[in-house]
């Protein structure tokens, strides 16, 4: 199966901050889609987060975006700016896809 190179962005962000990120992704015409996964805990600069029934303020999600390298770099910068002082990390890696027009 022939494949095409793209970049995969992974954004870990507070669940309550996710809509702002998705809004950004949705208004960027070069981005054709995203997938959001729930997290059940994490640790970083701002300490450890484990799920709790009392409140969902500590919940985080992982947003996965597959797109071209150029768009990925631009999006990475934009998302990091949106995050500013907010909790979160952005990762980029290589990925291959079969249907190039799809991403």
């Amino acid at each position: 199966m022939e494949t095409h190179r793209r970049k995969r962005l992974e954004i870990v962000v507070e669940k309550r901050r996710a809509p702002a990120i998705l809004e950004y992704l949705d208004q960027e015409p070069a981005i054709t889609g995203w997938t959001m996964l729930p997290c059940i805990g994490g640790r970083g600069h701002t300490g450890t987060r484990l799920p709790e029934g009392a409140t969902d303020v500590l919940d985080t999600v992982l947003i996965l975006v597959v797109t071209s390298e150029e768009v990925a770099r631009r999006t990475m910068a934009a998302v990091l700016e949106l995050l500013e002082e907010f909790v979160g990390v952005v990762l980029m890696s290589d990925v291959e896809v079969a249907r190039p027009s799809h991403f």
Partner: protein
Amino acid sequence: MLCFLLGVIAGVVRSDLEIPEAVARALALYLIFAIGFKGGVEVARNGELGPLLPLLLVAAGLSLVLPLPAYALLRVLTRVSRTDAGAIAAHYGSVSIVTYVAATNFLQSHGIAYEGFMTAVVAVMETPAILTGLLLARAGERSGIDARKRRELIHEILANGSVVLLLGSFLIGSVTGSEGLERLAPVVVSGFPGLLCFFLLDMGLLVARRFAGFRTMGLGLVVFGLLMPLVGASVGLLAGTLLGLSRGGVALLATLAGSASYIAVPAAMRLALPRANPSLSLSLALGITFPFNLVIGIPLYGAAAGWLAG
């Protein structure tokens, strides 16, 4: 109460007992709905809204003002940053709905009456504290808050899920009155003690888990978490007595003033003060002040209200 204790014990022995998150959150919504609805029905029944308006104003004022002593105490007792102190202060100006529920439960089981419209007071006290806390925290920051963020924040304050649900169910209760109560009673009245018990079991587990964080927290913070409810409750007792509330009403206002939010305020703080450490305020509000109020505070405020009334 014993359910809470069981939860704490299970947590302390690090049992794998665990109430699924989705169910715990649904239980919290249920409690808010039930308390709001029953408050509304009570108001529809008695209709005596006489002292309500001044009470609501005073309550909002309490919520606005209480972050000030909290902030001062934090700066004196601890070494947390201004941002964190402002964020924590906002939690203590606001209120804990579950603590309120436990207090009404306490009053009922001791046969002490209280005003049905107190539920409206809860809703009114939830969010003003956020403003004061924010001003205190921002005093220590260079950057202002931009227009977009202000909009987000105001939205968060007004459309906060627990406030909307509490006010909404209060309105539903006051519209449908006794007739509505009859239909919903099996769920919102008969089911209440049992479901509260499960919820407190979960709260106990959470509190116990938060205990673990205290070693790293410093004595100052622990002292704050025990002192501040007493400060808040004293102001609440005074205000309630001056307003001429019933004994039960005074006790409830004291409880509200002495309690710390861990639902509405943390959510707003994540937007407004992302640099504030959410674990810190949650550990204080949930891990120290909540159990303190549950075990010691509520009976104390009840006794003090009786003494003032009598």
